[in-house]
Subunit: 351 residues, 2 copies
């Protein structure tokens, strides 16, 4: 009986954070890969009206068979988004974005939209070039697996994950733009919360700088470690144990994915890499000089890891330990609140 | 009934590899930390005659209470090893080795001995300086946890682990030295096999070069990554997910342990670090130049990780996939066999 009720009257996945429990709005997802497709699954499960488009006829067929409202006609899908005043979510990879922005400008001229790509400054620039800044909010759900495509989609992918939402366009909007943009921003937050994510606000460039440090740099270091270990030949690989295994794990990522994420964030990654190189050069000098020691690097690295551990693994559902700041979109001083939240790496909720 | 039999008639942990099933000999373990103490547990459990010494009176008391044959008198313990023709295992850390070598020269003048420290060239030099090369075989069980001391000891620590055994001293021994050294080498292998380890032969310098690449370099890179991520402030740590978590895991190791392992292997670590730095500098140039790409590093790193995965996780008990080469200590050409095994990173067994 309980399960019948659950089906007939869907409840939000994360009612504690949704500002308006039970309120939903239509969402149109363009591109149903791992992120877009998993988002569709979770929104549908939460009872939200959700429909979408995918390029592959096979995916359209498979998704339809599973009961999802998916079309292979991009223009018609966007016209429907416009008619139903849906929030459009761009789930396509970076190279496909320009074409999608053109289609949005043409077929969905008045609805807000967001994206899910892993860099944000370049996306904001593209959106600006297409004159769509008034109704765009950048997004980056920090979730994923090594797999991609509709077949890799899953329920619960975003539960407890951080979902970065940009606020670059919060200021200097015209009156019409202000209302539409604020509505888009609020809806993007509500949608992320509905699938259990923890919303963290940033501006695009600070997001890109952060992910360069904690996501792209780890990939570059892992590749270099894997190659250096391998250059030691079979003996090295036989002796390799957990420290090498952990340090090279992300070198198992498809090389083209590593290239795409690193090459889309060149400026920030060069800066992070230069900082790491300076530390490693210093370590090299210290190790080469018997009078020197590694005390400072080992101590600071250990302290940094401890700080990370103190913050990490904070799932929304099991821990209130990450600070949560409540903001009212558009209220006086609200962007200062977002800026405060950003500098603390804090989660936000809206009211 | 079966368990009574098992207790009254101990069988080797790893009979498949022991050349002479059931054969055991006295083992004297000097230093009962994580490695030495766990070795004592496993040998005792396998029914081997094993006794030892520890500096801490508390450890002696606790170990005795648990039924282990442990003394706090170093000289007497070594005299007993001499009288019982035991294999002596030095389980003390590097700084304590010189004193132990003096004690062995004085109180156990004719028995063979091995060690368990994580670098080998420096130990071989120390042994040479004490004139004990004729009866020394270097060892390095690639097993451990983040903890240390008798309280951290456990059963089964070596089961499936690689136990490196050096053969630097296999040649150019005098006739007396040859027999004693061969006997020490054979016993060291048998003891490692008795606790379930996979024996891999190397010469000391190649061991040190390999562990610099696959154990010490990962620590240095992890420290640098942790610091660089942390320099991004709270936002970076909030966005950090699995790639940062895995890449910095070993930065959680006690800084003094990291220092000790890196500073004891300076020469080999500088070489490994220089190779990694060259790869990272090239990556930095490629990322900074929009016309360049990361194709080569990403592809080679991925291939290296795949090769590691293809070899790794091969527990002795569940996989014959790591090549096993059978050698007869002292037979014509046997060091060539060891050299072949080393270049393949192969496991050996003796007959």
């Amino acid at each position: 009986m309980g399960s019948v009720n659950a089906i007939s009257k869907p409840t939000p996945v994360n009612p504690r954070l949704s500002s308006l429990p039970g309120e939903s709005f239509p969402v149109c997802i363009i591109g149903l890969g791992l992120i877009g497709g998993s988002l569709m699954r979770d929104l549908a499960a939460a009872g939200w009206p959700v429909f979408g488009w995918n390029r592959s006829a096979h995916t359209v067929k498979v998704a339809n068979r599973s009961g999802f409202d998916v079309s292979g006609d991009l223009d018609a899908t966007l016209r429907r988004a416009e008619a139903e005043k849906a929030l459009v979510v761009l789930g396509v990879p970076m190279p496909a974005l320009p074409r999608m922005l053109e289609a949005i400008a043409q077929h969905a001229p008045s609805v807000g939209f967001t994206d899910v790509t892993s860099v944000k400054a370049e996306v904001h620039e593209l959106v600006e070039q297409h004159g769509l800044t008034d109704r765009f909010v950048g997004g980056h759900p920090m979730a994923g697996t090594a797999n991609s495509g509709w077949d890799a989609t899953m329920s619960g992918l975003f539960d407890g994950a951080v979902w970065v939402i940009t606020y670059d366009n919060a200021k200097n909007r015209g009156q019409r733009g202000a209302r539409l943009w604020l509505d888009t921003w609020r809806r993007t937050v509500q949608m992320a919360e509905a699938v259990g994510a923890a919303v963290v606000p940033t501006v695009a460039r600070r997001h890109d700088s952060a992910v360069a440090r904690i996501s792209h740099l780890p990939h570059v270091l892992a590749e270099a470690l894997a190659v250096t270990g391998d250059m030691g030949g079979p003996l090295s690989l036989t002796l390799a144990a957990t420290s090498f295994r952990d340090g090279t794990r992300v070198a198992g990522t498809e090389p083209e994915l590593v290239r795409a994420m690193c090459e889309n964030n060149r400026e920030a990654l060069v800066k992070a890499l230069d900082e790491a190189l300076a530390l490693l050069q210093k370590a090299r000098e210290d190790i080469a000089s018997p009078g020197q020691d590694l005390h400072r690097l080992a101590t600071e690295g250990h302290a940094a890891r401890m700080r990370f551990e103190a913050r990490a693994g904070r799932k929304v559902k099991d821990a209130p330990r990450r600070p949560i700041i409540r903001v009212q979109p558009g209220a006086p001083g609200w962007t200062d609140q977002l800026s405060s939240a950003e500098s603390m790496g804090a989660q936000i909720g809206i009211f």
